[in-house]
């Protein structure tokens, strides 16, 4: 099985049970399929806030199936690959019910990349293999010494480090008569000592280790001659799980309308639509605004317009946009229309919605072509709000 970022596809699946979030599985009752190229197929059953995963050859009965290659699958699950990009570019394909598959995103905690453990044997091999690169030749002026290591236990071994003429060499046996020999009953203690997990005094005091020969040479020279050993596991700390804090804000707000917009909103209560007129350029403003932005003069003359008019432009909205005022997604598709109410001209249009079942029939108008005629449908209980008009509908 291939590995990506040191992770196998199997690792992702095998950890699913442990990463499963019952919270995210509320209201989910479905079977999902995973078809990973050259790796195999898996079936995930989620029901009653519990999950079951099985490797299978048969993905029939799945509500939706994700198809990807191993690298993309591991990448998306570990955050190494952007999931949206992978989906948009076709590296991840979802067959079946796309909406249902979206729910799998909440089912699991993120996969945290665990670092591998190193054995004592691997540590010793690494420690002595890095002796020469860590050697500081300029500190060895005039030194001629041999440091021997006799490390016991099942994973232990013997090494001698020679320093002569500012050159350092290492052998995997004890040769000749070393200047000093360090003996450890258990090589694991030596590894822990070098990693700083236990101190030399306590090992020596406990009789777990001994030094023969010129102990001072070892104690005073060794730390100067070699750079400190760096743990390739970095202390073997798991990569930190990064938290994302989720907040929802709901606030009450109130806005004063002022007299001009107030007149417009009050008019809606009485089933009347008011525009105001710029005394300088004569254009109508709908809804009424305090001043004409173009002429920068107050506009206080009102005129009743509509309530019927002609559609000049309609946006058909397919994207399920959550309404920021309620958090509820608007039902799609809906038609957002700009209406030229009777009595208005040019760009003096009013935006509103069209009756949902009439979207298909709406024609937008321009100079050469009349748009569809529409009329407002009023709410029974009107409060002075743009939604006192429920929507517009075709007037024929």
């Amino acid at each position: 099985m291939a590995e990506y970022w040191d992770i196998k596809v199997e690792d992702i699946f095998n950890s699913m049970q442990e990463r499963f979030r019952p919270d995210g599985a509320k209201d989910v009752d479905a079977v999902f399929g995973y078809d990973i190229l050259d790796e195999g197929k898996w079936k995930l059953t989620v029901k009653n806030n519990e999950m079951k995963l099985s490797k299978t050859d048969d993905l029939s009965g799945c509500i939706s199936t994700m198809k990807a290659d191993g690298e993309t699958f591991v990448g998306v699950n570990t955050g190494k690959v952007d999931a949206t990009n992978a989906f948009m570019s076709g590296k991840v394909k979802v067959e079946g019910d796309m909406g249902a598959f979206g729910k799998t995103g909440k089912l699991f905690r993120k996969y945290i990349i665990a670092k591998k453990e190193m054995t004592v044997k691997e540590y010793l091999a690494d420690m002595f293999a890095t002796i020469v690169p860590r050697f500081k030749a300029k500190e060895a002026e005039g030194l001629d010494a041999a440091f021997a290591f006799d490390l016991g236990g099942p994973q232990g071994g013997k090494w001698t480090v020679f320093i002569k003429d500012k050159v350092c060499t290492v052998t995997t046996e004890i040769e000749g008569s070393p200047t000093v020999t360090l003996e450890f009953n258990d090589a694991k203690d030596y590894v822990d000592f070098i990693l700083g997990k236990i101190d030399a005094q306590s090992i020596l005091a406990a009789g777990k280790a001994a030094a023969k020969g010129d102990i001072n040479m070892m104690a005073s020279k060794w730390p100067i001659l070699f750079e400190k050993y760096k743990d390739p596991m970095g202390g073997n700390v798991q990569e930190q799980e990064l938290l994302v804090l989720k907040k929802t804000i709901a606030v009450n707000q109130k806005f004063s309308t002022g007299p001009i917009m107030g007149k417009f909103l009050k008019g809606l209560k009485d089933k009347k639509i008011y525009a105001n007129k710029c005394p300088k350029c004569g254009r109508l403003q709908l809804p009424p605004r305090e001043v004409c932005a173009e002429c920068r003069v107050r506009a206080a003359d009102f005129l009743e317009v509509g309530p019927k008019g002609e559609v000049r432009y309609m946006d058909v909205v397919f994207y399920a946009m959550p309404d920021p005022l309620t958090g509820v997604a608007r039902e799609t598709p809906y038609g957002s229309i700009n209406i030229l109410l009777d009595g208005c001209k040019g760009n003096e249009t009013l935006p509103h919605f069209i009756r949902k079942d009439q979207i298909e029939k709406i024609k937008s108008g321009w100079n050469e072509k009349k748009g569809t005629r529409v009329r407002p449908v009023w709410e029974e209980n009107r409060i002075g709000d743009i939604w006192d008009i429920k929507y517009f509908e075709i007037d024929e």
Partner: protein
């Protein structure tokens, strides 16, 4: 006459993060710090050299009030003059204008502009909808999405030609983004996919399709500005700011009258005409070597080309169809991949200036235009049809 400046100002440092939808690994100050460090390194300066920090992003997109206070950990503005600017989609461009003005005025010698956004942390459409008049329009608008540009182009040139032009533009942007290591989205699209994408890409509004819309990115951009004297001392390749223009409009969305006798003021066209006229540029299409355009969707981009360069008939579509806007073409547009490629909104318009300046310096990286870039143009867009345009020059000789 260009607008009055007490002294010239040059861009001497640029830094930007990799733009992405996956930056859960850092918080907001940490993300900003990445761009700030890169810009300081690029300019070979330290925070001690910065006289003033100008900070900006979209108001309330992340629902944090006065984010410049929290972000001071990343901006380095502690104990310094720091000004916060927020002007909607144009904010990045306004950061650049303000930094230029603050330096040109003589108030500060070195000013750092920082644009930022973490769109994954807030609610973009919620933020945009809260811009609308709360007395009535907030309830009926649909965020930043509209198919009106598509409708306009389609009505004038027919659905098939319009669709193909939009997708050609989109794929050119994807090819450019593929060259830009900082771009958020590069799918590896090719021109032979046009028909397929027209058919399969989900529609958002009208003919506006998912593939044609900009991304929602996390990212930050930092640009350092210096007065002429300092710029020449510090940088071997300062990029000079020749002029910039900002044009605002009434906030109302009632712009869909569709009556030729009552033309709607188009701020891009208006701004471009003013800017080129006062700088004596008669043929902008030939004058500029690169244009970093704020292109929120490919439909808007193809429509706006006509406004920016005062093109007649179908000249704008031909530029796209003949791939003259690709790197290596007559006027490369968005070698960076543009806003469709990466869109951390508060940084987006500053990235336009930064990317244009990198092209002038000649060290943009894999997406560098191969021919010399002496004159560059950048645009910002936001609000309801607001425009900011910035002109950059390699030589101080205008």
């Amino acid at each position: 006459m260009a607008h009055k400046k007490n002294r010239n100002v040059g861009i001497i440092g640029i830094g930007q993060t990799k733009h992405s939808s996956h930056r859960e690994d850092v918080n907001q100050p940490e993300l900003i710090h990445e761009a700030v460090s890169l810009a300081l390194k690029d300019a070979n300066l330290t925070m001690k050299d910065i006289d003033c920090v100008v900070h900006g992003n979209m108001e309330l997109f992340e629902m944090v009030h006065s984010p410049d206070l929290w972000h001071v950990l990343g901006t380095g503005a502690y104990g310094k003059d720091c000004i916060r600017i927020t002007t909607g989609g144009t904010v990045g461009a306004t950061l650049s204008c303000a930094s230029d003005n603050l330096t040109a005025s003589g108030m500060y010698d070195i000013v750092m502009a920082i644009g930022f956004e973490k769109l994954q942390e807030g609610h973009t459409t919620g933020g945009i909808t809260n811009m609308a008049d709360p007395l009535w329009f907030r309830k009926i608008q649909a965020g930043a999405l509209t198919g009106s540009s598509a409708y306009d182009v389609e009505r004038e040139f027919g659905l098939e030609r319009a669709n193909r032009a939009s997708l050609t533009y989109r794929i050119i942007m994807d090819k450019h983004a593929g060259l830009n290591p900082n771009a958020h989205r590069a799918f590896g699209l090719d021109f032979n996919q046009i028909d397929d994408l027209i058919r399969t890409s989900p529609k958002l509004v009208g003919e506006l399709k998912l593939i044609e819309m900009c991304s929602q990115s996390d990212g930050a951009c930092c640009v350092i500005f210096a007065c002429e004297k300092k710029a020449k001392e510090i940088s071997k390749t300062p990029v000079w700011i020749r002029d910039h223009i900002t044009v605002h409009k009434e906030e109302t969305f009632s712009i869909f009258g569709y009556n030729r006798e009552f033309p709607v003021m188009k701020t891009h066209k208006f701004a471009a005409e003013q800017l080129f006229k006062r700088n004596g540029i008669k043929d902008p299409l030939n004058y500029f070597d690169v244009f970093e355009m704020y292109d929120p969707a490919s439909w808007w981009a193809i429509d706006w080309l006509r406004d920016f360069f005062d093109l007649k008939g179908d000249e704008h579509l031909k530029l796209i169809e003949n791939k003259e806007i690709m790197i290596g073409g007559k006027l490369p547009i968005n070698p960076s991949g543009g806003v469709i490629g990466s869109n951390p909104i508060g940084a987006t318009a500053l990235i336009r200036v930064a990317e244009a300046a990198m092209q002038v310096r000649g060290n943009a990286g894999p997406h560098q235009i191969p021919t010399p870039v002496n004159h560059a143009l950048a645009s910002g867009f936001g609000g309801t049809m607001w425009t900011v345009m910035t002109m950059l020059e390699k030589e101080l000789n205008w």
